[in-house]
Symmetry: C2
């Protein structure tokens, strides 16, 4: 739902609406978030910015990610070990497939989630606001290299 360019403009709108300033650092962070498909960490974003912004502070990345989260323009995929990841392409809840080996995260196309939410509401009485669905496994690349190491592959 929206190209990186569209997402970029949409986020700029939100920022202007909420009277936030458009600093070069902020724009660069947004640029990375909407163009990256890898669900980067704050650290990864920070490193990608080193070239263009050698004086960029890590705190600035954290602050802007928090801001974009509060505006509903970035989805946080948080983990208990602190290796949090961010999706600026799809800021709404969606399932993820996570490789436990290389930590790759991809967005699988899935249907049939809406009725699950309805079921939960019925059985618990909760008013459901959002959800999170993660599948943990081993990606194709890692499966392949695993087989090569074991001498099973061709």
């Amino acid at each position: 739902m929206g190209s990186p360019q569209q997402r970029y403009q949409q986020i700029l709108c939100k920022l202007r609406e909420s009277n936030h300033k458009l600093t070069p650092q902020r724009l660069a962070i947004i640029d990375i978030l909407v163009h990256s498909r890898s669900h980067p960490t704050v650290e990864a974003i920070f490193e990608m910015l080193q070239e263009d912004f050698p004086t960029m502070s890590l705190a600035t990345v954290y602050r802007n990610v928090v801001l974009l989260k509060s505006l509903g323009e970035v989805l946080e995929i948080g983990f208990p070990d602190g290796s949090n990841r961010y999706d600026g392409n799809k800021p709404y809840p969606h399932p993820h497939a996570i490789c436990v080996r290389c930590k790759k995260i991809v967005d699988p196309d899935l249907r049939a989630l809406g009725n699950l939410t309805a079921q939960v509401r019925q059985r618990t009485g909760f008013k459901i606001l959002t959800h999170r669905l993660d599948f943990f496994g081993v990606c194709r690349d890692c499966l392949q290299s695993e087989n090569q190491t074991k001498g099973v592959g061709r």
Copy 2:
């Protein structure tokens, strides 16, 4: 799948099999985990133990939870803010409904998750090992008190 008593014995079996000692502290932690339905935090377990074990160290609770996790006998429901919760009744993946207000966590009965895993495998090529499904919302109790505050309720 199994009463608290059965779970308790099952975990003791696993510990004996893996040559772990059955200390009073360890047994008390397991007792709390299999009898609690509230998905307690480490801190909560620690506080529940204060009465019977005034000298119990917080590190001991952490260590034993880690051990039981590694034995597959407790399910960790981790959150990025560090408010991790533990389920000793159902150590296998299952959906949770989480109240964002009072932090209550309950186990809703849900079906139709098996085919989702198959779908993810098909579309991503991942070998899926486990999953996690959380629904975030407001529980019945909190909805009620919310309405009372607003003067909407009877």
